[in-house]
């Protein structure tokens, strides 16, 4: 019993640290959708700073810790948010994962570099290496107390517990009982709605990152006595604490916190009672990753099968329609030059490095399959490399020929790939990335610790093959052979992409549900992707090992795989050629930098981390950055596709687009003038002009796809028009963000419900009405809300939710309300109630732009009506002039000359 108590108590120490890290992960994730792989690196950086300031400069422990946790770490979080995370929130998931992997290595290197510079400047710093038994905040050595037989605590443990408890209480207070906390929770719940409510989600995200960073810093300072100054250990610690974040589903801070504590205890209990596994080398080492893997499988919510396309939109094909020569000519020429260079200009050293680059290119090509084609992030590629090479080496030591051994090794890797693919059937995105990472660590710590497979630290010799007269023992010969192989694989992958199988893969990537509906097996496709990629990685691995002439189990670790992914994605993962560029850069760059730029070992690593910054701007990688930008520019400057001739078009020609000469009519609250807008080269609005006046309801009607929601988004500032003007109160508002416009009084009630489902009714109201008296007035008016004010808004019925969204507006009427289908999915009785509220708003002076698909009901409340068809206003006039057949025609998209004339008179204003 004392054993058990002891295990639980001391498990709570690592548990507390896990909890701090996991909470930070959840905070930053919910604020910007980023899983921060570099969270542990932040902790390390603070531990390093604490060590230098406290031990080397002699600063007192507690103030130093406070300074780091309360000032330095939040500052770092703020800076990174401004520089990177904010932009990354808007790019695809792969780029997000990779950018923070870059930071994971860059931040520790930055810290060490600063120490190096300080040392050169003569500051009394201590080396960051070989520091053991470091003091923490408390007394050093730690004071210990024996509670009962076999159960003791020491001062470091006590400090960790107490601090963590205080932080937990503080976080609870902050999030539950302050306006800032309320906003933070709102941003977690629905980021875009927060913007529409006039709160800057960017600023809130900065706050979340600062808090997150502070928590990492705190964990770092507290963990110093335990982990020392090993960046590697801090990162491993972070991966384990990711389990707790998974338990909290990356959204619930209390769950993540509790999960962290439980994780520490569970890990300790397993370590304490795992004597059953003594025969299995590596089992105890692997316990945290077993828990992580199991947690991911059990806890991760099943991914939505639809809509992943939005997460990782494909880049524009800037070479579409180009000839074969344009597409491949430069690459073929490059390859030929490289082959010639091997035998003419390169010295033996550079030949070797180039051959190495080509070998690693083969491995990198495997990323273009699983991540490029399949949009799945695999962090286990290094496992396939090691697995294949070990198997091949084992067979070669038994006298197998090179080709046979390579084939079997490749198959073994493919088999491993199929195994790793199993979680992919259930998981996606960052959960899948973490699951593959957990498997990679499990392979390192258990599978590759198997004596007969790894052959101790000696590993297996993989002699370079000799085929008849071709002796690959010569680096140049190996280089050319690898070049041929790489070219063949690139050609094969390009052919695969254009084959039916490749199209099926792309279909599964962008819309699994639709792919399933058209008879593509998602399971088979995902398995195939992983198997193929693993096989390719394995084959590349054997070739790489044969460049090294040996494979040992520690040559390519899970961490290597992480770095590889970052290197490939930084170059671009969508085209196989880019992987080759990545491989060559990976091999050449360190030597070029060492020769021509700097001797410091840290600077190249920091530069590599900056690739993450570049990804924030060019998520498709540096290889394509210039071409993609040029392509975007070309598309946006090319004229829109020709449209059916209409009077509106002739008017556009009269006035230069975007000219500021337009003056709004006098009592207009919101004016859209000649708006042309669309999404990434797909135009939707072709010159929409609308005016909403104070105290009037303008109903915007139109069929599906007419551009109604796009009009709303332009009006609210969520979408910037290509040309045209948005005017508020007669002033140009084109450059104003949604937040700004909302603060100026232009509110958008988006399609669906404009509420925060995870917040209570009272909290939803508080966001709009900070004063209690205002809220009380709302409750008086809507007793149904008053009775359930502490209930989560998500549990209300659709009608009640819509009432909740509108109720606070009645108390404080906005200048302009843009309501996108407020009656969507509501019962007719509720629709009447909603429209009654809208009329009330109009009477209070609000200008309403009401978008509806169903015309019948809205005609009862609208003052004026505009028809939107095919991206332009086909008719606009007072309700009284609305005729049934005109309505029908508008919906059918039929445009007649007479209506066109009407449009002109009405749109140009009285």
């Amino acid at each position: 019993m004392a054993d058990l108590l002891g295990f639980v108590l001391s498990g709570l120490v690592s548990g507390a640290l896990y909890a701090l890290l996991a909470t930070g992960l959840v905070l930053s994730y919910s604020a910007s959708g980023l899983f921060n792989f570099a969270h542990g690196a932040t902790a390390y950086l603070c531990a390093l700073a604490f060590h230098e300031l406290h031990s080397a400069f002699g600063w007192p422990a507690v103030p130093t810790a406070l300074l780091l946790v309360c000032v330095v770490a939040p500052g770092l979080g703020w800076g990174l948010d401004r520089l990177m995370f904010r932009k990354l929130a808007k790019v695809g998931e792969t780029a997000q994962i990779v950018a923070t992997i870059g930071l994971l290595v860059a931040l520790p290197a930055l810290g060490l570099w600063i120490v190096e510079l300080l040392e050169q400047a003569g500051a009394p710093v201590q080396p960051a290496e070989n520091q053991f038994g470091l003091p923490g905040v408390g007394p050093s050595p730690a004071v210990s107390w024996q509670l009962m037989d076999g159960v003791g605590v020491d001062s470091d443990q006590l400090i960790t517990w107490v601090t963590t408890a205080v932080v937990a209480a503080g976080l609870w207070l902050l999030l539950r009982h302050t306006p800032l906390g309320l906003r933070l929770r709102a941003v977690v719940d629905n980021r875009s709605l927060v913007e529409l409510r006039g709160m800057s989600a960017d600023r809130l995200s900065s706050v979340a990152w600062m808090l997150s960073s502070a928590l990492a810093g705190l964990a770092g300072v507290l963990a110093t006595p335990l982990l020392g100054l090993s960046a590697h250990d801090f990162t491993l610690f972070l991966f384990v604490s990711a389990t707790a974040a998974v338990l909290g589903r990356f959204a619930s801070i209390p769950l993540a916190f509790a999960g962290g504590l439980a994780l520490g205890v569970l890990q300790n209990l397993v370590a304490g009672y795992a004597s059953f596994a003594d025969g299995l080398t590596g089992f105890r080492t692997a316990v945290p990753f077993l828990i992580l893997f199991a947690g991911l499988l059990l806890m991760a919510r099943r991914q939505r099968t639809a809509g992943t396309a939005a997460v990782d939109a494909p880049p524009p094909d800037y070479l579409a329609g180009r000839s074969w020569g344009r597409r491949w000519g430069p690459w073929a020429a490059g390859a030929a030059l490289l082959a010639i260079a091997f035998y003419t200009v390169t010295t033996p050293f550079w030949s070797g490095i180039l051959a190495q680059g080509l070998a690693v290119s083969l491995v990198f090509l495997s990323f273009t399959v699983v991540t490029g084609l399949g949009a799945m992030v695999s962090l286990a590629q290094a496992t396939f490399v090691t697995g294949a090479a070990l198997v091949a080496g084992l067979l070669m030591s038994q006298g197998w020929p090179f080709l046979g051994a390579t084939l079997v090794g490749t198959c073994a890797a493919a088999l491993l790939g199929a195994l790793v693919a199993l979680p992919a059937l259930r998981l996606g995105g960052r959960s899948l990335a973490l699951a593959t990472l957990a498997l990679a660590f499990l392979a390192d710590q258990v599978l590759f610790q198997t004596g007969w497979l790894r052959n101790g630290d000696t590993g297996w010799a993989i002699p370079r093959p000799v085929f008849g007269p071709v002796d690959l023992g010569d680096d140049r010969a190996l280089g050319v052979a690898l070049l041929v192989l790489v070219a063949a694989v690139v050609a094969a992958l390009s052919a695969l992409r254009n084959s039916p199988t490749g199209r099926a893969m792309l279909a599964v990537r962008s819309a699994p549900a639709a792919a399933m509906a058209s008879g593509v097996s998602v399971v088979r496709t995902k398995l195939l992707l992983f198997t193929l990629s693993a096989g390719l990685a394995g084959f590349g691995g054997v070739m790489y090992a044969s460049y090294n002439t040996r494979i040992t189990a520690t040559d390519f670790t899970a961490m290597t795989g992480l770095i590889w992914l970052a290197v490939v994605v930084a170059a671009g993962v969508r085209r196989p050629q880019f992987a080759v560029v990545a491989g060559l850069v990976f091999a050449l760059a360190p030597h070029l930098i060492a020769d021509y730029v700097t001797e410091s070992a840290h600077l190249p690593v920091i530069l590599f981390g900056l690739a993450g910054l570049a990804l924030a701007n060019d998520p498709d990688g540096y290889c394509a950055a210039v071409s993609v930008r040029r392509h975007r520019h070309r598309v946006s400057s090319s004229p829109a596709p020709p449209l059916p001739e209409s009077p509106a078009d002739s008017r556009i020609a009269d006035r230069p687009p975007g000219s500021s000469s337009y003056a709004a009519e006098e009592d207009s609250a919101l004016t859209l003038h000649e708006i042309h807008a669309g999404y990434d080269g797909a135009p939707v609005l072709h010159g929409v002009t609308l005016t909403v006046r104070r105290g009037e309801i303008l109903a915007l009607l139109g069929p599906n796809g007419a551009g109604k929601t796009t009009t709303c988004r332009v009006a609210a500032g969520l979408l910037t028009p290509r040309t045209g003007q948005v005017l508020m109160d007669g002033r140009d508002a084109n450059r104003q963000t949604p937040v700004h416009r909302s603060r100026e009084g232009v509110l958008l009630a988006p399609e669906g419900r404009g509420i925060f489902p995870a917040l209570t009714i009272d909290e939803n109201l508080t966001l709009h009405l900070p004063h209690r008296t205002d809220r009380d007035a709302v409750y008086e008016r809507f007793p149904a809300l008053a009775a359930r004010r502490t209930v989560g808004a998500g549990s209300l019925s659709g009608g009640e939710q819509q009432l909740l969204a509108l109720a606070p507006l009645l108390q404080r009427p906005p200048k302009v309300l843009i309501a996108d289908e407020p009656s969507l999915g509501l019962a007719p009785r509720v629709v009447d109630e909603v429209f009654r509220l809208l009329t009330e708003l109009r009477d209070a002076g609000t200008a309403l732009l009401l978008v509806e698909e169903k015309a019948a009901e809205i005609l009862g409340v609208a003052d004026r009506v505009a028809y939107l068809a095919q991206g332009r206003v086909s008719w606009c006039g007072p309700r009284a002039e609305v005729e049934a057949d005109r309505l029908t025609e508008a919906y059918l998209g039929i445009d007649t000359r007479t209506e066109g004339n009407d449009t002109r008179t009405e749109v140009s204003g009285p």
């Binding site: 054993d3 002891g6 295990f7 120490v13 290595v105 290496e129 070989n130 520091q131 038994g133 470091l134 003091p135 050093s140 050595p141 730690a142 076999g150 335990l226 982990l227 020392g228 090993s230 960046a231 590697h232 250990d233 491993l236 520490g264 300790n268 370590a271 304490g272 009672y273 003594d278 080398t281 590596g282 105890r284 080492t285 074969w324 082959a339 035998y343 050293f349 070797g352 490095i353 190495q356 660590f441 004596g451 630290d457 071709v470 002796d471 023992g473 140049r476 010969a477 050319v480 052979a481 070049l483 070219a487 040996r550 040992t552 520690t554 040559d555 390519f556 360190p590 030597h591 070992a601």
Partner: protein, 419 residues
Amino acid sequence: MPRRNRTRTFAAAAALLLAATACNSAATSASGGDKGGSARGVSDDSIKVGGIVSMTTSSGYSKRDTDLGAKARYDRANAEGGVNGRKIDYLGAEDDGQNPAKNLAAARKLVQQDKVFAISPMSSVTFSGADFLNKEQVPTFGWGTVPQFCGPEYIYGFTGCLVPMPGGTLTQAWQKGLAEVMGGARGKSVAILANDNDAGTFAIRTYKQGFAAAGFDVTYAKAVVPATSTPSDWSAYTKEILRSDGGKAPDAVVSVMQTPYNIGLFTALKRTGYQGVLTDPTDYDPGLLAKSTSRKALDGVHVLLTFEPFESDSARMKQFKADIRKAAGKDVPLNMHMMTGYMSADLFLAIAEKAGRDLTTASFQEAAKGFKDKGTLVGDRELPMGQKESFGCGALVQLKNGRYEVSSPYRCYEPIPFK
């Protein structure tokens, strides 16, 4: 271009390239050793020597000072007139960052670009450049803790090969030293603890046999401590250890783990009131005395070292300290990495001296065969025996009141066969 033509063109180009490779590779596969009497990196008045050392690492463990140790030894050699009239041109150590790819790249750079005659020191946990160096016939000297120092013709450990090979021998320095400290091995129980990975399992296998052969009663020998990060809680391990000798605590606890683990384990054992002998083979680092936590954790611990302790007052140790001070330009705390660099350089110099004025790879290898000397900082050296087994010398020092004291003086022991 139509698709079929494309494929054909591609295949033809590939075949052509491979054919060209064939013609050339036959003519160029000569190894980089000696050609016509002059050796790579050897001029009339100098010998070019490089080094490979793990300096920057992500694990916070660095062997940086190895470079200083080597420099100190070469500086003295040059001050004394060099080797057979040639000065040592030591290029300094390349940093391999404990990264296998960088280790091989560093070896290639030193040989192919800098054209060194030899590499000394090479000290890293990874040695993927070994095959390349051996093939290119580059004499390489370093810390023989990895198996690449055991076997390859051109690679030498400065204390011999420290990885026991089945069929080879096991050194008895630690066991005999401990027996001396404990007043004999007979009837004394020891518990051995290692990390939960393949290396730990192998260590348990060798030390279990070694301690049993020396007469100890091995009551506990397990590779169970998680290998990736230090446990925050040691009670699970200490409980088992303290009950291992028939319910009692063993007379000695032997840790074959790294410093952070030892600090945790020994602290936990002491808190339970354990009074027996603690010992490990890694914690001889005067730098550890600077921190109160490590000083307290390691107090009383007997540490094995395979070279003469810094506490010794022999003439050669005084020379070592003077050389280091001179190379560093000031008094620096000594550590085992300096010794690694210093003695790797020393072994290279000794063999080069023996090879004579006509220095080529062949003459160097010839001199190495049957090389033998006595009474150095690493005891009695003998080649090629040292490429198969350890020189077998060692001492134990005990940390007492904040300083190391020799508890079993440096001497060489007869090894036993490793089964």
